[in-house]
């Protein structure tokens, strides 16, 4: 009886809307400036899972100007939704797998359609610092090692469905499935050559070296974001949406 109740409860949670995350203080493992050693993050709502192929298909049907082949080249590159069989047909892509090969512009358009926005980097990182039991597991070497292990593996040709274990905020798949867009990815100031100590391109940025090994996972996310342009798509890059108030 109890196990049935638990199953029903978790099914209910899975069907529930976005999770409330924060408020909290995000401690960047690698602060980009002295004033960013602690970043206050107001409470917000975050999709429990990444946006799936099925979700995104519904979007392009409702907003055909964003379908493959019609979306403007200013906003997407030539690989946009390349893993679908056609602009309207997923083919071998799993409906419940996270949608990838979407650009920042198209991800933003989707979230606006859903009444939300992309999460900001600090919001995403606050949510992603949690493991299954602790809201801030960033100092746990085992947690960091797991993340680094995933970064070391190439992307599989067909991505699996969403639905990993929930973290302490009730959010799933922030690690181990896909990279995710954030609203202010253009704030990632890792210059393309990370060893440049003078950085004449950047007004006042900090050195990009960290002596703390737990910084590396964050650092790699920042480096990944820093390599992107807004119209870029990638086979391992998806997104989820954030909301300033609960959509329910």
């Amino acid at each position: 009886m109890r196990s049935l109740a638990i199953v029903a409860l978790s099914a209910g949670i899975a069907a529930a809307g976005p999770a409330r995350v924060g408020p909290g203080i995000y401690h960047p493992a690698y602060p980009a400036s002295p004033s960013e050693r602690e970043v206050a993050v107001a409470a917000f709502w975050l999709d429990r899972e990444p946006v799936t192929n099925a979700d995104y298909l519904a979007f392009v049907r409702a907003a055909p100007e964003w379908s493959r082949g019609r979306a403007r080249s200013l906003f997407v590159d030539k690989d946009y939704l390349g893993h679908w069989r056609s602009s309207d047909d997923l083919g071998t892509a799993l409906p419940k797998a996270p949608v990838v090969r979407v650009s920042w512009f198209s991800a933003r358009a989707y979230c606006a359609w859903r009444g939300g926005r992309l999460p900001r980097e600090a919001e995403w990182e606050l949510a992603a610092a949690a493991d299954a039991r602790h809201r801030d597991a960033s100092a746990d070497p085992a947690f960091q090692a797991q993340i680094l292990k995933w970064y070391a593996r190439p992307t599989p040709a067909i991505l699996p469905a969403v639905g990993g274990a929930a973290n302490a905020w009730g959010v799933r798949d922030l690690h181990g499935l896909v990279w995710e867009w954030v609203e202010d990815f253009t704030a990632s100031l890792v210059t393309s050559d990370s060893r440049d100590p003078t950085r004449s391109q950047v007004c006042g940025a900090e050195a990009a070296a960290s002596k703390d090994p737990s910084a590396y996972a964050t650092f790699m996310r920042t480096a990944f974001r820093g390599s992107l342009d807004g119209r870029d798509t990638a086979t391992s890059l998806g997104f989820r949406c954030a909301y300033d108030r609960s959509p329910r």
């Binding site: 070391a152 790699m220 990944f224």
Partner: protein, 495 residues
């Protein structure tokens, strides 16, 4: 510069051997499908090597090779526009039997592809990052003169491609590697290779050219722990590698993958050290490097046993192999060779050269050299006491008080194999009748004369023999006066 003289010599040699063939310069390069330019243009010997003219004609596609192969020598006498197509692949490979690691590679292998261009070439790098890659990557070539070595211009997200052009103004052997944050991790995961900027006229011909690159691996599991191993950042920071490898795997140059040559061959090894942390102490056991272009530069040192190659550095070594056999290639920081995998092989076939190198010539027993044994305690044993005093009076003059004898003159009695092997009667006979002629003790032959000591009584002979057989590290049976008497009676007339 040492190479320029050689280049002039090569050109003069060509002039002497060939009739004048005037080849139209642009026609040589018309086919961009040809990976190398085989035509040798005749150049007046007095002209300076051309490293500055603007390339004309269609660009060439650089021939890239996987270790241990090296692209063909470049013969053309003028700069060209060369395109290098490099793709970054993140790929799982075996590093030892049952042990796997996910490498980030330039071209699918560790080390990355070998690039060979000529001084003065305009080199256009097309860096592609495979869509299946998880990480962005870029490239810093040490051959580039300019900030970052190209890294800033080649930052490439997965599924994208970057182009970057530089002029190879200086000759030499240079490392290239990825410089994306965190840089040491990208290098530790295998993102290093080499580019050789050949001086005009090239290097002198050799029988074989090989490409070897050393690098470390930092894994969470111990050495030879099976399965897919994860990168260990802490070990990397502490500079405690689990593996030190040539060409990305244990056994990459071993057995049927060993480098090969024939006796008398000259070999050139382009050796690089990707690091990320350790220097290499490059040595080929059983050979001396005839020439080492230390640090991949223009000046060679001669007759070098082991050359130090810094992390992020390179060396060109040249050697000649005279005798057949298998030569081990090692990092001479030996725990790396024996316990971390830094060992390869060069197998040389051909007729033996016993004038230079013999196989084992003799294998004889060696019971240890004469070693002074502790003095025997004789108190309480009148026989031993008599033996000790007799020994001191008569035997010690030749056999020495410590029983070690004198090499070449008087054989030792200490730990004597002769005493152990000979029957008692023979030994008794020596004392009674003396000994002439060669006798071999502990591997040495003595050809002296031992005078007869028949004037000693049976008791004395028995006592001194008993004393000697129990002393000086010997542990042999006692001899009785009866035994002496028997021999004396038997061999009274024997010579």
């Amino acid at each position: 510069m040492a190479w320029r003289g050689m280049a002039v010599a090569v050109v003069l040699g060509v002039l002497a051997k060939t009739s004048l063939l005037l080849l139209v310069a642009s026609a040589c390069h018309a086919s961009s499908a040809a990976p190398t330019d085989d035509f040798i243009e005749v150049v007046p010997a007095s002209s300076q090597p051309d490293v500055t003219s603007t390339p004309v004609g269609h660009p060439l596609i650089a021939q890239l090779t996987t270790a241990p192969e090296v692209p063909a020598k470049i013969f053309r006498n003028h700069p060209a526009h060369v395109i290098v197509n490099l793709t970054v692949n993140e790929v799982e490979k075996e590093i030892a039997p049952g042990v796997r690691y996910t490498f980030w590679t330039f071209g699918g292998d560790v080390p990355g592809k070998f690039i060979r261009v000529r001084q003065g070439d305009v080199v256009e790098i097309h860096l592609k990052n495979d869509p299946s890659s998880k990480m962005p990557h870029n490239i810093d070539l040490h051959a580039v003169s300019g900030p970052g070595g190209g890294a800033e211009s080649t930052f490439t997200a997965p599924g994208h491609e970057s182009h970057f052009t530089f002029r190879a103004t200086k000759p030499g052997l240079y490392v290239y590697h990825c410089a994306t944050a965190p840089v040491p991790m990208h290098v530790a995961n295998g993102m290093y290779g080499m580019i050789f900027v050949e001086p005009p006229g090239g290097l002198p011909a050799v029988n074989h050219e090989y490409y070897i690159m050393q690098g470390e691996l930092y894994t969470v599991g111990k050495y030879h722990a099976p399965g897919l191993q994860a990168f260990d950042m802490d070990k990397g920071i502490d500079e405690r590698p689990t593996y030190v490898l040539f060409d990305g795997a244990e056994g990459s140059l071993v057995g049927d993958k060993a480098l090969t040559a024939k006796t008398g061959d000259t070999i050139r090894i382009f050796f690089g050290n990707g690091g990320p942390n350790l220097d290499s102490n490059f040595h080929v056991i059983g050979t001396i490097f005839d020439r080492v272009y230390t640090e991949g530069g223009s000046i060679a040192q001669e007759h070098v046993q082991t050359t130090l190659v810094p992390s992020g550095g390179a060396a060109i070594v040249e050697l000649t192999v005279e005798a057949p056999g298998t030569y081990a290639i090692v990092d001479h920081a030996l725990f790396r060779a024996f316990n971390k995998g830094a060992v390869g092989q060069l197998k040389v076939t051909g007729p033996s050269r016993s004038d230079l190198f013999s196989a084992k010539q003799a294998d004889v027993a060696y019971a240890g050299g004469p070693v002074e044994a502790p003095r025997l305690r004789t108190d309480g044993d009148p026989v031993l006491q008599m033996g000790e005093s007799t020994f001191g009076r008569i035997c010690a003059a030749c056999h020495q008080p410590n029983g070690l004898g004198l090499p070449g003159q008087f054989p030792p009695l200490a730990r004597s194999d002769y005493l152990a092997k000979q029957p008692k009667e023979v030994i008794i006979g020596h004392l009674l009748h003396g000994l002439q002629g060669p006798v071999t003790v502990l591997g040495m032959t003595y050809n002296g004369t031992m005078p007869p000591l028949a004037f000693l009584s049976d008791n004395e002979i028995a006592a001194v023999l008993t004393y000697v057989r129990a002393s000086f590290g010997n542990s042999l049976s006692r001899i009785t006066p009866d035994e002496v008497s028997r021999v004396r009676g038997q061999t009274a007339s024997a010579p």
